[in-house]
Structures are given as structure tokens and as C-alpha cells.
Symmetry: C2
Subunit: 522 residues, 2 copies
């Protein structure tokens, strides 16, 4: 018996690429960080999910907390951390005449400490909820946890000791790990205090997601997704400059395409790199855009040359989605991501993304003197014309999907990024959309990223900054130490997974304020 990898998909392993990826794998950097204080979770209707933490004592007081059956204590590390926690346990009273039975709950957010995981009924596996049970047979003991956790708050409950002894805790700390080297962090341009704070939290978010690969979220899914990689890589060039990690990730995707050359939307890394059986039109195109950015950040022509055919295959794959009019065709299955919004029709944003990507592809083709240049240029012309002809509603002066005439924020953003309107018209389109406030709006930091990029593309720095302040800044006001996977200001418990408990609160695709602030000198 063997692992059955996606019975319908044949994987084409490029051993040379995978070897290169493996060679680029470096030991993770680590740093010990001690817990900072003892806290209590309390209800606060003004905070996200209705909870906040109240500090009740500095960590130096920990030895005063003698814990017996049913007692618990919540420890605050003072910042988001990713790694291997440890703590020492001392018995108090008679010699321990029964094992100590502990339950540990890890929370990136107060809600994970406040609301019992037993209440979880979302559709993602409850195995992502970070908890652990330990029986400690011999005391004193140092509990060195072998599993990696991502959290700020750690709740420790004594399920039972015995009537004859209790325990106190000491040396609560974590061996933090990351592949981001803080010594390499680029200097930040001068900016406002608030933007400095936005940048700090962005940088921390990226730092904690940079592990053996660029993970989407260290709590969940801990996986290499192309959409996240695209934005992480951009932020990385402006911050930690770990260009080899980007290269490693590109080679991993390139080494594990399907038989048609499609890159997977995401890869599992352990026990060996394995492509997930999810293929998305937008994520495939991000292979090209990530390669484009990587080349411009590094000038690494060898990698560009070697991976170019793989990138080109993704364009070929995108072409298969076009009808005879060169219009992207909505598919009946989950064919593209764009954003967590069930009502969103993806035709317009995908059409924009294809055009956007074609322009980057053509620029790379020219550098490589690729014979594809001509074909790509023709495709660009045809897809652009198709968008102008079939997706532009000249009456409403807005892009709409061809059949249902749906207006989405995403469609406008991607058409602006595609650059098929003159800059002033594009800016007017964004402003018009803002006034219109389409029902089909943005739900994730990922989608908001492209809104900021679109405002910057049309040269409206102020509007871009307003999104950073209004959207990411709102997370800051709600106490974010790292930026969250999901954030809908008008629906603070929003989760596409059926429960806010399972959301990731340190998520790669949300780290881009640092990219904007640094690259555009905001």
C-alpha cells in the first residue's frame, strides 16, 4: 500500500528541479523568547470576536500561581511566536502520587483561549485547532514540545494532579524558528508613526510565515500556496531579501507539475514535496508573475531561463480557458480563487489577470529572446480587445461579466492592473466603483492588496494609503500582532470555513503593507 496522490492527476516530477530546491533548503534560524506576562481573557464587545486580554501579573510572578485540579493560567508571550514551546513544572506539597494531566491551548487571538474548541463546527478539520494533552509521570519535569505551534497566548489547564500535590510553572519560553534573517532586514524609509506600526506588523507576519518554504500561515495550512508566495516574495524583496527561499519555492512548483505542465495551486512539503490536487487558473499565472519579480529582484538570468518554459506552460493553460472570442469562460467547478466570495463571478478578474500576466511574460520573453514573444503579443492583443469589447459596459462605464453582467470590485481592480485603460480613465473607474460600492466586494487582505496596487498603478497614493489605514489599520486597532487571513470590518466573525476559531491570524497574503510602504515610499 502506498500514498495515493490524486488518482486522476499524473504528476511529472522534474528531479533536477527538485534537487535544486532541496539544495536551497537551509537550516532554520532560531531564537529563544521568554513569556512576558500572565493574562486573563475577558469579554469586550468593542473588540473583534468580543474578547480581549487583560494583563494580571508580570511573568516574574508565575511561581506564585499554585495550580491544582481544575486550575488554569494563561500566559502571554507579548508577541506572535512560531516554534517549539517549553516550560518547567515543579511539584508543591507531598511527593506526586499520580501523574500530572495537563491540557494546553494555544491562541493567536484571545478568542481561541476564550471559546472552547469543543464548540467548533466548521468544515475544516478540527485538528488545526492548537491544543495538546500531556501526562507527566515524573516531576519536576521540563516539557519540551516536539510539535510546532503558532500563537501569542498559551492557556495551561491542570486537568488533574492529585489531592496531595499541586504544581507551579517556570521558564515558559519558546524556541522561535524562521528562515527570515532579521539582520538582513532592509532599512525602512521615513514614514509616519502609524505606517511604521503597519510596517512592523507586516514584517512580523512575513517573518513568522517564512519557514522551510513561504508558508501561507504557520497555524493553518502551513503550506506553500502560489497566491501567498507571489505577495510574500514581493514583500521579501523589500524586507528580508531571502531571494534563495523564493527560488527554492519556484523550483518546487516547477518540479511537480501535472502531465500537462500545470503547476499546482499549492504544495505539501513533508514528508516530501507533493502537489495538492487543486489547480487554479489565477494561482498558475502567479508562477509567471513571481518568476518575473524574482528576476527583477535578483537578475538571476539562469533561473529565469530554466523556469521560463514552466511559466509559459501556465499561459498555455490559461489559453485553454478562453473561448473563440478570447474571453475567459466561467467554469462550473472551483477553477480560480481571486477572493473568498461565493457570489463572485471570476471571468472579469481572470481576464484582467491574464492580460496583466501576458505583459510581464512578454517583457521576460524579450529578455530571453524567446520565440514565444510574437504569439504572446498576439494573445495579449486578442484578450485585451475581447475585454474591451465584451466586458466593458460603456453605458455604466464599468467592467461586467459577459453573461450575467455582474459588477464586482475584483473585476475593476484587475482590469486596472491589466492596464487596458489610460491611467486617468482607470483612476476614474476606481473612483466610480468606490462610489458605486458594488455588492460583490472584497473580503480578504489578499483581494485588498490588489486594490492598493491598483490605486498605486493609477498614481493615487492617497487612496492607496487610505486602504492601508482603513483596512489594515483597523486590524491594528483590533489588536493585531500579525495580520489576519480574513478580515471583514462589517462582519468581524467572518470565516469561509464556518468558524472564526479556525481562521489563521498570521497570514502571508496579509503582509504586504510593508511592501507598499517601502516600495512606494508611503
Amino acid at each position: 500500500m502506498n500514498i495515493q496522490v490524486n488518482e486522476d492527476v499524473i504528476i511529472k516530477k522534474n528531479i533536477a528541479f527538485l534537487k535544486k530546491a532541496e539544495q536551497l533548503r537551509k537550516p532554520l534560524l532560531h531564537k529563544n523568547v521568554a513569556a512576558k506576562s500572565i493574562v486573563e481573557v475577558e469579554a469586550d464587545a468593542s473588540m473583534i470576536h468580543g474578547w480581549k486580554m487583560r494583563q494580571i501579573a508580570p511573568i516574574q510572578d508565575l511561581e506564585n500561581y499554585v495550580l491544582g485540579q481544575g486550575d488554569s493560567i494563561t500566559i502571554d508571550f507579548g508577541e506572535h511566536v512560531v516554534g517549539f514551546p517549553s516550560l518547567s513544572i515543579l511539584p508543591i506539597g507531598s511527593p506526586p502520587d499520580a501523574p500530572l494531566y495537563l491540557k494546553l491551548t494555544f491562541g493567536e487571538m484571545p478568542v481561541e483561549i476564550a471559546e472552547p474548541f469543543a464548540s467548533y463546527d466548521g468544515w475544516l478539520s478540527k485538528s488545526w485547532l492548537q491544543e495538546a494533552h500531556y501526562h507527566v509521570d515524573v516531576l519536576p519535569h521540563t516539557l519540551d514540545m516536539a510539535r510546532r505551534y503558532s500563537f501569542r497566548y498559551l492557556k495551561i489547564e491542570v486537568i488533574d494532579s492529585s489531592p496531595k500535590y499541586k504544581v507551579v510553572l517556570q521558564h515558559v519560553k519558546i524556541k522561535m524558528i524562521s528562515s527570515a534573517n532579521t539582520h538582513n532586514l532592509k532599512e525602512r524609509p521615513n514614514t509616519s508613526d502609524f505606517f511604521q506600526k503597519l510596517d512592523d506588523v507586516s514584517v512580523k507576519t512575513l517573518h513568522d510565515c517564512m519557514q522551510d518554504v513561504f508558508e501561507d500561515g504557520p497555524k493553518r495550512d502551513r503550506r506553500l500556496w502560489l497566491g501567498d508566495l507571489y505577495l510574500q516574495a514581493q514583500t521579501n524583496y523589500e524586507t528580508f531579501q531571502n531571494q534563495d527561499l523564493v527560488k527554492r519555492c519556484l523550483y518546487l512548483f516547477a518540479g511537480l507539475t501535472d502531465a500537462n505542465g500545470r503547476v499546482a495551486a499549492n504544495l505539501f512539503i513533508e514528508p516530501e514535496p507533493i502537489p495538492d490536487d487543486t489547480y487554479l487558473a489565477d494561482y498558475a499565472l502567479y508562477f509567471m508573475t513571481t518568476l518575473h519579480d524574482y528576476y527583477h529582484a535578483t537578475g538571476d538570468i539562469d533561473t529565469l531561463t530554466e523556469l521560463w518554459p514552466v511559466a509559459l506552460d501556465q499561459i498555455r493553460f490559461a489559453e485553454t480557458l478562453l473561448d473563440e472570442r478570447y474571453l475567459a469562460v466561467e467554469q462550473p467547478y472551483w477553477w480560480a480563487f481571486i477572493d473568498w466570495n461565493d457570489k463572485l463571478e471570476k471571468q472579469v478578474p481572470i481576464q484582467g489577470l491574464i492580460i496583466f500576466t501576458l505583459k510581464q511574460a512578454i517583457s521576460l520573453a524579450k529578455i530571453l529572446h524567446s520565440e514565444s514573444t510574437k504569439k504572446l503579443t498576439a494573445l495579449l492583443e486578442n484578450t485585451t480587445k475581447a475585454a474591451q469589447k465584451h466586458l466593458w459596459d460603456s453605458e455604466q462605464k464599468i467592467f461586467v461579466s459577459s453573461s450575467s453582467r455582474q459588477i464586482s470590485w475584483h473585476g475593476q481592480i484587475w482590469m486596472v492592473l491589466a492596464g487596458i485603460l489610460p491611467s486617468n480613465e482607470a483612476e476614474a473607474l476606481l473612483k466610480r466603483t468606490q462610489d458605486l460600492a458594488p455588492e460583490i466586494g472584497l473580503t480578504t487582505p489578499f483581494a485588498h492588496h490588489f486594490l492598493v496596487e491598483a490605486w498605486l498603478k493609477v498614481g493615487n497614493k492617497e487612496a492607496a494609503k487610505q486602504v492601508l489605514v482603513g483596512y489594515w489599520g483597523d486590524m491594528l486597532h483590533q489588536g493585531a500582532d500579525t495580520f489576519w487571513e480574513l478580515f471583514k470590518p462589517n462582519d468581524l466573525s467572518f470565516s469561509p470555513y464556518g468558524s472564526h476559531l479556525i481562521n489563521s491570524y498570521c497570514h502571508a497574503w496579509s503582509c504586504t503593507p510593508a511592501y507598499f510602504i517601502r516600495k512606494y515610499n508611503l
Copy 2:
């Protein structure tokens, strides 16, 4: 801060004794044992606790059981085992996109698999209930458990995998550990098939309790108790003959007396030997009886000589319990064990045990030409006369406690063992007690052991055999693989701890049928 060992008791560490004990510590023997079958627990009113196991498939079929969220499987090892289990887990379906979250429940008996531990409300720590939770982040995986478990049945529940994959299990096995070397097992005398079976289960019980020390029970308390040691050592001489392990245990107790020289009722072994803050009159005397038996089993005069003063101190301690009439005085606190029976007054059995022990002490004193011989002899005479004068009810022809005139089985047994009646009168006393069936009866195999010993002392092998068949044999009929800590045929759910879930079902003090069968050729 440091461990506070029993604030009221000062421990006198004899470093030389503890060193000797440490030198006698040997690496444990181990043996890999594979699981045998797949079972299901089902209700059966005719069985103890109302549960039995039904085999549903041989272990070879394990790979046919594909387990997803909420599924569970119960594995039967076919025998009681103690050690470190392991199992391999293979994913089935898409690549695992979430950790696997497992809950494992270990049962010495079907009841531990059938009744949820959450229902436990006994007064011993629920940390003794054997369960474990595992998050497995990378599959396939071999789960090597670092904690020692004592069980026959292992229930494995998939709390969650993910909608995209399930798992199958393979290679469910255990690294069994023991300090009993089966190659040294003495040949068994010819006996009936039923007694062979009694012997097998006794030997297995002892085997599984023989670890780094003679433990009372490998599930709970996993500790060195003097009462258990006394009986284990006796059975050991007739079976595994690990005389060094007895010696090691004697030196441990001798190395950790209190300032007055009292040995503790039990010791904790890890992280270092520590006496529990429980002192019991009967258990202290078992130091002398165990030393007596050890000398006779080994002829090791050096150890006898060295430990004699410690044994003598226990007599001195027993003396402090006597009043001016040389009668043991009932104490208002938990001063002696004898049996799990709250109503039992302990004066008569303790008086009997003191006399019994004095006789052994005098025999040893003579071997050692000890100057204590005379004093011990005088004490024997005085305590014997006191028993005859104040505890013997000549009208009822039975021993009664001096104030309340309580008649207990225990009192008669210990007076018979004390040998203060001629043999025929002693036998008549036992028969009379049997006919009387006193309300204060025997509740544990420990107490039943002394009943068998008493019948044998008066030369009534048949009556002794009837107890083995009727009491231990009843456990066999109820499916015992190893003999239980507690067994009351008329109250099968009896537990002195408030729940049968926490009872130990492989318990040292219950292993003595092998001793009787072999020593007395039953």
C-alpha cells in the same frame, strides 16, 4: 524552590544503602509483541461491569479498516501487556491537508473501553486513566509512544483527519518491558488444568508488575509498596527467582526511613527514590517478614546482617502501639491497612501480625546471635498472653476486638497465622468463622491471600484450594488475564476509590496463587 517532601517527616537517608539499591538496578528486559485481533466491546450482563469483548477480525485484516473523522477501532493484544506501544499510520486518499488528530484509550478491561473516562468521578486522580491524544502533522508516520502503558485493549479514535483523506493502521505492537526473566521461570509441579491456568495468570500478573522495582500495579500506582512486595517476593522465589530485585527493594526501604527508623509504607522511585508520607503499622512489619523470607530464599547472611537493625526498628515501632497490657491500640487515624474495609477494626489482626512477625524476628535473631533475642522473646510472650487474655472470647470461641467486641475474618486469620492456638483448634476456629460468615469480611485478594495461608498453616489443603478456586477462579471465569487489585464476588463494581474505572486489573498482591500452587504442591 524545591520539592517539599512531607513537611512533618524528617527522612534519614542512608546513602550506602541507596547506593547498594542503585547498583542492583538492572536494565529492563524487553520483547516486541504484536497485536492479535480487532474487537468490539459489547454489553453482557453476565460479565463483570456488564461488558465483554467480541472478536470481529484477525489483526491481518487491519488494513481493511479505513478510518476517517469520528471512526474508531479497538485492538486486542490477546494478553495483558506493559510497555511502549507503537503503530504505523498510512494516509488514504488525497495528500493529507490537515493534521491527523487521534485519541487513544488503553484498557486492561473491557469496561475501560466501554465507559467514557469523562464519566469518572472517583477520588483518585483521573490522570491514572490511560488515554492519550496525538496530533500527527506528517503522514505516513510511525507513532512511537514515549509513555508506558498497561493494557490489553487499545481503542484508537480519529477525532479528525480531513474530508480529503482517511487513514489505515499497520504494525500495532508493543515493546513489553519487565525485570522478570522468563528463562528463569521455575518448573511448575504437576497440577490440574485449572490450577495450571491459575498459575499462568498469577505468573503473568507478577511478570507485568516486576519493573525497576516490584510495582503494586503497572497501571496504578506503579509504586513500591511494602505489602505488595512481601507477597511478590514470596511468589518470585517460586517463579522468576529475581532475588536481586527483592534485595534492591529492601535496601530502598532501608535507605529512606524517617528519623525514628520507621520504613515508609511505599516509595516513589522517580526522579529519585522518595518515601511517601504514609506510615502503616502492618506494612512496616512486612519489612521484617520480607527480610526473613529473603534470607531463607537466598542464604544471603550479609544482607540479613546489614538490614537487621532496620527490621528490628519496625518491631520497636510496633511496640509503641501496645498499651500496658501489651495489646495493640486502635488509633484514630489511618494507622494500618490490613484490607479495604472501612468498618474493620484493626486491633486483632495487628496483634496477630505482631506475634507472627515476632516469631520470624526471633528466628532471625538466633541466626544472627543477636542480643535482641531475649527482649523479642519476652515481647512475644507478653503479646501472646495479651491476645489470649483480652481478645479471645471463650464463650463464642472466637477472637474479638477488646472494646467493641468486633468479629472480623481478618482477626481470626491473623491469630491463626500468629500460631497461638494448637493446630486443630486453629482449624476449628477457621471453620467456625466460615460458618459464622462474619459481616466484616475480606474484600481484596491481599486479604484472601492470608486466608489461604491460614488454611495451609492448619494443614487443610482442600479448604485452601477452595479459596483459590472460588475466589481467584471466579476472576478467571470473568475473563481475567492478570489478577485484579479488587474483587468482591457479591459487588463486582467495588472500588475503594469511587469508580471501577480506576481500579488496577493487574495487581501485585493478587499474584500469589502461583506461590501457593508451587510451594504447597496444590
